[in-house]
């Protein structure tokens, strides 16, 4: 019996409270060597995830180590609901002195493109990028295809016959199917689902030839030898799955850029930006944090502020294009 994640998290939630208390009476701690002094003594990381969700877990792992590196106290706050719109408003209307920072995934970008939230991308900017969530091509154990290359060759031999599963219709996984179709000039049907678990059933019962998804959702099935990973959409092999070749190795040059980073309001304090740029590379070297990265099958993809901004602009443009192409949105 493992300790439930929720329970562990509620215990963890006490950590920032405990850290904040001495922060009130004591002067700000000194940051680690090479990290500029942070302009404010306390930072709140906002996430649109509910407790236990992806962004929430990441934030709570970060605040275990970041306070020592940056010399500040930190807390995670869940501003969930409205698919990230509420969190965006909180950031856009909050202080710009460095005291509130948003933990981001593609969710808020999609929300901003697909609806008209009170505060959208024009009010925010990328601070730094930290990780990519690698996406895997998976088949059931009985599948005759041992590699992605074999799967694609079979698809080419039988045009229009293969069905590839993707999680949500607006998710990156579906975009990857479309990208593979284009890059490998094959014709397969992309079948979207209501989530990863939903797709998993259809891969396992043979309704789909293969599916694209994240490692964490299928770990149990892989351990039970009911599912195999035949390719990963990452620039290089992922430490958590050293035996799974990248799609690039198998002749399909596509990398999934499902990012996990930080964002802030426009006019964010330059001193704070500099501190984050120095702190994140130190954070990913902390052994305990490194273990968590490996366990979570994340890929380091640190980008400094300017690079992250350029990446985000590219990402937003490609999302808009994809949504238009698929008929998900009609406006640009």
């Amino acid at each position: 019996m493992t300790i439930s994640r929720r329970r562990a998290l509620s215990t963890l939630a006490l950590v920032p409270a405990g850290l904040a208390m001495p922060g009130i009476v004591r002067a700000q701690n000194a940051p680690a060597a090479g990290v500029p002094r942070y302009p404010v003594p306390h930072v709140t990381l906002i996430t649109h995830s509910s407790p236990g969700g992806g962004g929430d877990v990441m934030g709570r792992e970060m605040i275990k180590h970041l306070p020592q590196i940056m010399g500040v106290t930190m807390a995670v706050e869940n501003v969930s609901g409205a698919a990230g719109a509420r969190a965006m408003t909180r950031i856009a209307t909050g202080p710009t002195d460095g005291s509130v920072v948003y933990i981001t995934t593609p969710t808020h970008v999609n929300t901003a493109i697909m609806s008209r939230p009170p505060h959208g991308l024009e009010h925010l900017q990328a601070l730094v990028n930290i990780f990519f969530d690698p996406q895997y091509l998976m088949v059931r154990n009985e599948s005759p295809h041992k590699t992605a290359a074999e799967m694609i060759a079979a698809a080419r031999a039988n045009p229009g016959r293969q069905r590839w599963g993707a999680t949500l219709p607006s998710a990156l996984e579906r975009q990857l199917v479309e990208q593979v179709k284009r890059a490998a000039s094959i014709n397969v049907t992309a079948v979207t689902h209501d989530g990863g678990g939903d797709m998993l059933i259809n891969v396992l019962n043979g309704s789909l030839e293969c599916g694209i998804g994240e490692l964490q959702e299928v770990l149990g099935q892989i351990e039970a030898r009911r599912l195999r990973l035949i390719g990963v959409f990452a620039p290089q092999r992922v430490p958590a799955t050293p035996d799974v070749p990248t799609m690039r190795e198998q002749g399909v040059n596509i990398v999934a850029e499902k990012f996990r980073g930080l964002a802030t309001a426009r006019n964010f304090s330059p001193a704070a930006i500099a501190a984050w740029e120095a702190a994140i590379p130190k954070l990913v070297e902390v052994p305990a944090f490194k273990d968590w990265i490996t366990k979570s099958a994340l890929v380091n993809a640190f980008m400094k502020h300017e690079e992250a901004k350029a990446f985000e602009a590219r990402f937003v443009a490609s999302q808009r294009e994809f949504f238009r192409e698929m008929g998900i949105t009609t406006r640009g």
Binding site: M1, S4, R6, R7, S10, P51, G52, V79, S80, G81, A82, A83, G84, A85, R86, T111, M114, S115, R116, P117, P118, G160, R163, L168, P169, S170, R174, T189, V191, T192, H193, D194, G197, D198, I201, N202, L204, N205, S207, L208, G220, F323, M326, G327, I328, T329
Partner: protein, 503 residues
């Protein structure tokens, strides 16, 4: 054996036991308050489970269901006002016994019969749920579609007299389910560019509005219920008395098992059915209606059995058969658990944890039921306006807590008013809830099946499970059509020659 060890670990190593106890106490109190049905009792508790581990949360909610089924019999016996619908059958002879000065005896019979029935229900749940769910992986998109359709066809049997009205509210539910992203293409529908609607409307907001808020509004328009004497004490039946009642007990539980696993029936039907059957098979049918112990034992055993067995279709297939299980299902969804064939596959710890929690709740029901009687009577005797306003505040706070959204609160009030109007004009609301819950499943699986088959509808009949479910669906609908339209017409035709003309 792993199931048993998970159950044991859950019971000893977690908050399962206190959660079951709290759920039970809440359930008995909620059930005892007239107007607060079992489903509302569960809905009210739901927001307080948000921070909990999903297993603990569902144990608490299911224990409240168990408690409410017993609690409902307290005012039924003491003031002839059933606390829950399913206790209405108990009120008939229970109140008679009360008038004869045998209230303690009646309450004791209800408690013992409820505990026995409840344990039988849980036993059947453990026995039936997993084998049924074992076919999980065989459920392809066409099979899921047909399953959802079967769930929706229950509307035909749920419509309480008016099938047309049932279909109207069912369609309304389907329309609500279509708000949000299109399940296949991702195009946003009926969201009017509002980020609040981007994820669709949460079924739980609809349910709390339709069940709880609407009930409170409707209670507000009715006169206060009677007061009861605070001096009542429970008198437990002797073993010999129980043995003499074994036939009614078994009849009640047997009917409870059957009605529980059949979606659409629920505790009320089971209670009345077993009241009738107990009378039919009784050695002293003439005592029924005059304070017969059998007439209390049978319906109470039945509705408590249903509390367990109604979880079979809910957990194995994700199809709620009653208001209460609909709320429980909403609770599971809220905690990130998708009830259905995959639940047993993916979350066995949850399933066995809930089973063990329910066994405990049923055992605890016995001592708790004795202790809690006096505070329950005190609470029922409070002025109705106080109770109703406190409960409304509790409901809306809970809805706000789901997503920290005032939009949801407004939506819930809207659905409350809608539900009130539906009651006023005799529109059944369970079809609407089924539509909200199953609409998305039916639509997305239908279109997914067609994506897989390349647009061929034959996939729905070539998949054996799908075919079987579609046949079941057709049978269910034709039977309902027969009982609603053809049989009354035939009976009327037969009756006509004998009845004198009224013109």
């Amino acid at each position: 054996m792993t199931g048993l060890s998970v159950a044991w670990t859950t019971l000893t190593g977690t908050w399962a036991l206190p959660a079951a106890l709290m759920g039970l106490v809440w359930g008995i109190i909620g059930g005892a308050l007239p107007g607060i049905s079992a489903s509302i009792t569960i809905a009210l508790l739901l927001p307080f489970t948000f921070g909990l581990d999903p297993t603990i949360a569902i144990i608490m909610l299911a224990s409240a269901y168990v408690g409410a089924e017993y609690g409902g019999s307290i005012p039924a016996i003491l003031i002839r006002t059933p606390g829950t619908n399913s206790a209405a059958a108990t009120a008939i002879d229970g109140y008679e016994m009360h008038k004869q000065g045998r209230s303690g005896e009646a309450l004791g019979l209800s408690l013992v019969a409820g505990t026995i029935g409840g344990l039988i229900g849980i036993f059947m749940l453990i026995l039936l749920a997993e084998p049924l769910a074992d076919i999980a992986l065989a459920f392809t998109p066409p099979a899921y579609f047909s399953l959802g359709l079967l769930g929706l066809s229950v509307i035909a049997t749920l419509s309480e007299g008016s099938m047309i009205k049932g279909f109207i509210t069912g369609t309304l539910g389907l329309m609500i389910a279509s708000v949000g992203p299109d399940p296949v293409s991702g195009v946003t529908r009926f969201t009017y560019d509002s980020p609040e609607l981007l994820g669709g409307i949460r079924p739980i907001v609809v349910m709390i509005g339709i069940f709880a808020v609407a009930e409170l509004l409707s209670q507000a328009g009715q006169p206060p219920w009677d007061r009861s004497s605070a001096q009542t004490r429970i008198k437990l039946p002797s073993l010999r008395t129980l043995w003499s009642l074994k036939r009614s007990l078994l009849l009640g539980s047997g009917i409870g098992v059957f009605e529980g696993v059949t979606p659409g029936a629920g505790g009320t039907v089971a209670a009345f059915l077993s009241y009738n059957e107990a009378k039919r098979w009784s050695a002293n049918p003439e005592l029924f209606g005059k304070g017969s112990p059998e007439a209390i034992v049978a319906p109470e055993a039945a509705n408590n059995t249903v509390a367990g067995t109604a979880l079979v279709p809910t957990m194995s297939f994700g199809i709620p058969g009653s208001n209460s299980t609909a709320i429980l299902l909403g609770g599971m969804l809220l905690h990130g658990l998708q009830p259905g064939p995959m639940l047993f596959e993916k979350h066995p710890d949850f399933v066995y944890g809930v089973f063990s929690g329910l066994v405990m709740a049923n055992l605890l029901q016995f001592p708790v039921g004795i202790i809690i009687l006096t505070p329950c009577i005190w609470l029922v005797n409070r002025p109705k306006p106080w109770l109703m306003s406190y409960i409304l505040a509790l409901v809306l706070t809970g809805v706000y807590a789901v997503d920290h959204s005032l939009f949801d609160v407004a939506l819930c009030i809207f659905f409350g008013v809608l539900g009130y109007l539906m009651r006023l004009f005799g529109y059944p609301f369970l079809p609407m809830v089924l539509g909200v819950i199953l609409g998305r499943l039916v639509e997305s699986q239908y279109r997914r099946a067609l994506a897989i088959s390349g647009g061929e509808h034959a996939i729905f009949v070539t998949d054996p499970i799908s075919l079987g479910l579609l046949i079941a669906c057709a049978l269910l609908v034709s039977y309902s059509l027969y009982t609603t339209y053809l049989r009354p017409a035939r009976d009327a035709a037969e009756a006509r020659p004998e009845s004198p003309s009224t013109n």
